[in-house]
Symmetry: C2
Subunit: 280 residues, 2 copies
Amino acid sequence: MIASTFAWAKGHGTENDYIVLPDYDGGVHGDLSKELVTTLCHRRRGLGADGVLRVVRSSSIHGVPETDAEWFMDYRNPDGSVAQMCGNGARVFVRFLAESGLVDPTGPIRFGTRSGTKTATIAEDGSICVDMGTVELQGSVEIAVGDRSWKAHKISVGNPHAVVFVDSLEEAGPLQETPEYDVSDFPDGVNVEFVRPEADGELSMRVYERGAGETRSCGTGACAAAVAHVVTEDLVTPTTIRVGVLGGTLEVPVDTGNEVKLSGPAVIVAQGELELRLAG
Amino acid sequence: MIASTFAWAKGHGTENDYIVLPDYDGGVHGDLSKELVTTLCHRRRGLGADGVLRVVRSSSIHGVPETDAEWFMDYRNPDGSVAQMCGNGARVFVRFLAESGLVDPTGPIRFGTRSGTKTATIAEDGSICVDMGTVELQGSVEIAVGDRSWKAHKISVGNPHAVVFVDSLEEAGPLQETPEYDVSDFPDGVNVEFVRPEADGELSMRVYERGAGETRSCGTGACAAAVAHVVTEDLVTPTTIRVGVLGGTLEVPVDTGNEVKLSGPAVIVAQGELELRLAG
């Protein structure tokens, strides 16, 4: 039994939920063990979350892209693996920076991620908009679930996505198993979005996230879906696509050249100190 | 937005998980609002749990059965409703009392619940055995899920149960909706157990808990299933029935007159202070 005491917070953005670990100088969690992340994220044997966001100074983390931003978002999937970027997590990260007085909430807020330096702004209504960079269209691939298969857009938003347009969100079934794909297309795994264009020009979406299963929302997935929609429908840019997910609604401003932002809610629900026990 | 700071812990027993709220003199949480319970239990907008266990002195809670035990287990379902008793919760409650130095862990530990005063013992291997009182067989009822229906044992373990014996645990389907029953049989709702006797004399079980949906385990449900099995198979008592649930294994010593105990693991995973925000 290993027990350790540390500060933590929990927040969510469109019901993607995260444990936030303040570790400003990297001295609390070191390299952040896989065991700690999986215990924190397990919904019944631990605390429960869709991922962990370690808040660390960029000068105190190594082996990541260089950035001149003071703060770095060290994001982990619930299985303990490292991920480049997490759109909903980024808003929760920015909300935490702002509420903790670590950044000026009235100006653009810059922070480092494994897919480069990002910029966020906090609107008057409290929604947070994060510059997500350029979405890359990488051709088409095939995705299968059970005995069904679809042609999908292969897309990178810093992390890999496959966007499938469907007539009904039920088409993919209960999504209890990982969708199948050609591993040479996605050697590091893939997030799969099933997207239905709605009558009012909005999109509705379900998402299967690598390492996590079906989730209530996926920010980079909404960006991938929005750009796939703009390209498929040949829409004039700049335009803003609204994407309805199980946990709420996101907005994706799409600029020329497939530069996107992601805007939506983010809330810190609880914070404090905790003593965590790991079975050892 | 209402923010309040208080002590908390999270624990689980066979993966039924609980938020424990120490409130020894009832001054922290008062009557424990439905809003607080639902926020604590929501798995994405809150912290996430199958229920809340408030730890309060019996002299500081009113409108409950009288008890001469010092501590009272004020248990709430995740929808905020009051419940009489919770078998897995009782073990987590006792573990918390013992680890917090509120009781002597080497002797019998007595505590009050809404279904009367209970006694627990902690075994050398760490498993906790709770006296669950007498199980009442109350005849047979009918339970339906979708277009299937079964004859069930109507059973009270302080709280109401319907035990259905099935050939396969898959029979009940995905259990995403509340099983149907005659409301005059169960005016306060019912927990439904689907139970399969295994070749080695053990039982395997799935459970749908009122107010919570399908859960990983249910202690009183295991007691109900064990007694229904003993009666159906006309087994000699005293005997001990092992019950496999999704989250682990429980043991139910069944004495003559259908007096039962419930034995199994219980772990406090994390504890600390937290500031919780409620959208107001």
